[in-house]
Symmetry: C2
């Protein structure tokens, strides 16, 4: 991987920062956040501005360019990747390390007095704007909005915004009509005395209307905004997309069942002026809900007295708690996904000794096998297929110049997932096709212990995910090891593979209590830089737990694995496992056999079935 050469781009950007065509006074620093106008994690090519300016293409990172410096902040998953993708005009700021300054502190330390720091208000979240602005102001600087995006100014041949066909999802997939979702939303608004709700997150809009698109790779969403009042529903979307009769019928555009369920449609770009118009007509007590992570541009349209910012929206929470139909769909999707992976691993076992399988070809094979499954739509994120030292690059994606051959001598890590019409998957397995070293087995076993500790944890109703994070680390910590990422994220149902508002992480922000029906990942890891990476990831469903007692009738929860793919016993040092942990592995493998075995049988996939049967033999007492 060779770094992007940015000398000329930075020169042009710095010139734009002084060009009074874009503002009344030159700015001394320009912030390039990661997201798009919807604060999406994955973004369309036209929105990859941070990647364009610095070369780093991970999913999280903020670049800041001053007259003298250029720096980029990212987290532990991306330290290695970012250092390889950026040239030496850029300083990598490793977030989470004690010595790394915050963006605010760094700006304050490098800027001349009374500096102006510019940012595009559409791609900075309102809460980030507030924090950044406060910090800069208290140091004598100011944060200013720059309406023309300065990256776009220097970006020749920037791609245009996608507008893919919309697909409609029926009751058999969603379990709840969009009309019922609107009604539930309005009930929440009534409860909190809110008159309007502005939806800006693309997955929330897709979920609300039971529509999907493919504007952003891996995420079945479409560019849109929605504003919901008690009598109106306004949808902002490229109007060409609504010509499809199926979509028109689904949304009842031509014959609304009730006046309050009449969807008014507007062009995507008109959300700003439409929201302005709504705000101009507000009564003195009217309040508008908007997520504090919505864009600064849209948030500031709403006068402060009428603005009711929330850390996550009622749609976000409703979407996170899956209904029975969604849970059933997620289960089916995971069985199909397991079939594809069993096939993959049986194939790898046969092919690797020939020396012809590479990280890329293995990833392609995984995609090919998944695509044979019913209702396959696409991948849910770029496959991480990594051999040996590449496995230590936490969000590695194989490229021709980094592509390694799978061998009998190195650890192989594959983190992959797919979108099916009935659900979204995300699974990581780490395997060795020869003989793993004692240290590799030791680390794998600590990671497995952590995975089991979370998966088997029983905890009271109302517990937030961050309280479970240390369970995943205890075995690693005891040996002086750790991993620099969270343990789990929410997973959407045929939606984004990463979603809020719950998760399992040492970070405690935006962490809503876990409740039955939520779906998260459980994915501890260990990364030995330059040598190997280990991660074990299942998607798990929060379910009620039966306990001996029931303190204050609070009830208890635990997890049920949805992912049903064998965990390689060869990588385990089973002596390090307790009897309870061995029992967990055996019971998990029994479930894989039972459920996935039946499906392999049904699909007539004999080699994969043989592989499954062999890989799920119970481990014996030592």
């Amino acid at each position: 991987m060779s770094p992007k050469i940015t000398v000329e781009l930075l020169r042009q950007l710095r010139q734009a920062m002084k060009n009074c065509k874009y503002f009344s006074e030159p700015i001394q620093a320009y912030i390039v956040p990661s997201g798009d106008a919807h604060q999406s994690e994955y973004i369309a090519p036209c929105d990859c501005r941070r990647e364009f300016i610095c070369g780093f293409n991970g999913s999280a990172g903020t670049a800041i360019v001053t007259e003298q410096h250029a720096a980029m902040w990212t987290d532990g998953r991306y330290f290695l990747q970012a250092s390889q993708q950026m040239d030496n005009n850029w300083t990598l700021m490793k977030m989470g390390l004690k010595e790394t300054p915050t963006q605010e502190d760094w700006l304050i330390s490098v800027l001349p007095e009374n500096s102006k720091v510019g940012v595009d208000p559409w791609i900075i979240a309102a809460d980030q704007w507030t924090n950044m602005s406060k910090a800069l102001t208290s140091a004598g600087h100011s944060l200013v909005t720059v309406q023309d995006n300065l990256i776009d100014v220097v970006w020749e041949e920037r791609p245009s915004r996608p507008s893919t066909p919309l697909i409609t999802l029926g009751h058999e997939y969603t379990g709840l009509s969009w009309q019922d979702k609107i009604t539930a939303l309005r009930a929440k608004m009534t409860e909190r005395k809110i008159t309007w709700f502005v939806a800006t997150a693309l997955d929330e809009i897709a979920w609300l209307f039971n529509l999907r698109g493919s504007d952003i790779e891996y995420n079945p969403v479409f560019f849109a905004y929605a504003i919901v009042g008690f009598n109106t529903i306004r949808l902002f979307v490229d109007l060409k997309r609504l010509a499809d009769p199926a979509v028109r019928a689904h949304l009842q555009l031509d014959s609304p069942s009730k006046p309050e369920l009449n969807i008014q449609t507007f062009p995507y770009e008109s959300v700003y002026t439409e929201l302005q118009a709504i705000c101009a007509a507000l009564g003195p007590k009217d309040k508008i809900w908007i997520c504090d992570k919505a864009s600064c541009a849209l948030t500031q349209v709403i006068p402060k007295a009428h603005r009711s910012p929330i850390p996550y929206t009622p749609l976000c929470l409703a979407k996170a708690v899956k209904n029975a139909t969604e849970i059933q769909g997620m289960k089916m999707a995971h069985i199909k996904d397991a079939v594809a992976l069993c096939e993959l691993f049986a194939w790898l076992e046969k092919e690797i000794p020939k020396g012809t399988v590479t990280e890329i070809s293995a990833a392609d094979k995984a995609e090919e096998l998944r695509s044979q499954q019913k209702d396959f739509v696409g991948l849910s994120f770029p496959t991480i297929s990594s051999v040996g030292p590449n496995g230590a690059i936490i969000h590695y994606r194989p490229l021709p110049e980094t592509n390694r051959t799978l061998s009998m001598n190195e650890v192989y890590l594959i983190d992959s997932g797919a979108q099916y019409t009935d659900g979204t998957t995300d699974v990581t397995r780490t395997m060795h096709f020869g003989t793993p070293s004692a240290f590799e087995k030791e680390c794998f076993t600590y990671v497995l212990k952590g995975h089991i500790a979370v998966s088997a944890a029983v905890f009271p109703n109302g517990t937030k995910g961050h309280l479970l994070d240390s369970f995943a680390r205890a075995a690693l910590w005891e040996s002086g090891l750790d991993y620099l990422h969270g343990t789990g994220h929410g997973v959407g149902c045929f939606l984004n593979v990463h979603e809020g508002p719950c998760g399992i992480s040492y970070k405690t922000f935006a962490d809503e209590p876990l409740e039955a029906g939520m779906i998260v990942s459980d994915e501890p890891g260990y990364y030995e830089d330059g040598s190997f990476g280990i991660r074990l990831e299942n998607v798990v469903l929060v379910v009620p737990a039966k306990t001996k007692h029931n303190y204050r009738n609070r009830g208890s929860l635990t997890f049920e694995p949805l992912t049903l793919v064998p965990i390689q016993v060869k990588m385990m040092n089973t002596e390090l496992l307790t009897q309870k942990e061995r029992d967990w592995v055996n019971e998990y493998h029994r479930r894989c056999r039972e459920v996935v075995g039946a499906e392999l049988e049904k699909q007539g996939r004999k080699e994969a079935l043989a592989w499954l049967m062999r890989e799920t033999q119970p481990i014996a007492l030592q």
Copy 2:
């Protein structure tokens, strides 16, 4: 315990709320916070305003009185106690339960439009003021300062503010002179470009000057403020206390060694005007450090542009990391404390069968035995001596009307501690002097498993205490049990038994990373309302841990118990313990024998020694 009758008091307070002698417009609600002007947890009688108005005398709670309602918020430790001490004019607001509104939400739900909510700015912390004010303002109300405290207005015969003699601590106790502490503080100020520091927390001021007082029961502190600049040190204290030649010499009041170490003294009350004068003379770039938990009154003296609020002060952090002399002192104090407790338990075993020992007499005996130890100063908090159902009242304090007799049939819980000139102790043991029930043993064993899980935990440098909290609960959770309080708090060295900025709790605020030299408690529990309480508490020292590996050279930490008092084996269901846990118990008891046994021997306390030897016999493999 009968509740305080508050009808007449509330009538008078509500009258004062309408009396324009105190403000230009009547107020519709009045907030009575728990603390004093220093936001102390334990407070002097003259500051017990919340107790005076509602009857509840726990260490944490906020009362709010409106024209129609009176409500009091407290946490899980105090639900039972508060419900018993307050009459039915008061609504108990159980913090931490999902259905309990915040103070802000409750006020907004009960107040008429455009209400004014009053509070004494000296006893509300600046951060609380900000949050409360923001919430009320956004709902159309306003938070206003009321200079005359309205409780004092209705409080006849309010006690006067104490002014006890000061005692000086030499290098053999502190390990660091106050001059060196001032120098270190100034170095931190230089590093952060701060020109002044305002100290308002009483334990920080006592620690800084190596002085102690006894103005507040159990806490060896004295009422004072301090303001430190680069050339001046201003101490605000009742000037009569500085007449003592020992104090004058200690502070070098008559012959400062260097001009910048010259302490200027002022009356306690003049801190407000003196800070005003300092602020009037500030240069444009001058910044003043003040804790965001300092009083709103004092914080607002500092113009916003010059104010640099911090969640905890450099003194707070420096005080939390004990030096070698302090650690040695804490160890000695805990050995003496263990001697007293071994004697107590040996005595209880002999006396309980006679039916003459009560909760109060047991607590008195514990105090008597502690007072025989060298350098004993007093208790570090009111002894919780509780039998059977009283044990379920988490911060129970025996009173004549609740006093139960210790018996062979009920669980006994004693949580007690002392101040010695060399250190502060805090220890809880739960015992049965007859035959515990299977359920009592089961719960005790889960609590013990949690205690051990924290005490034996190994974790990376930089880990915050909240990440360890769930270790203490895992065994309870698995059985559907829990406890509604944190797991540990910082402990001062001959200072407050509760101190910041570290601890072990599911609450994550003001939680600084643990580092070697910090001292915290480890005290999980289980409370069966109406039946029994169990808690197991050791004070533990954070120490470096040796681990097999050392990921990114971060280093690891673990805990070393300072408390060395046997844990009753009779209460354990040893079959529920793992071999590792049994080993931990045996090794802990070996240490108790070795260290406390030697001291009992030296002090010639034969009965206690015999008790210790018997109670520390190794538990055998099942």
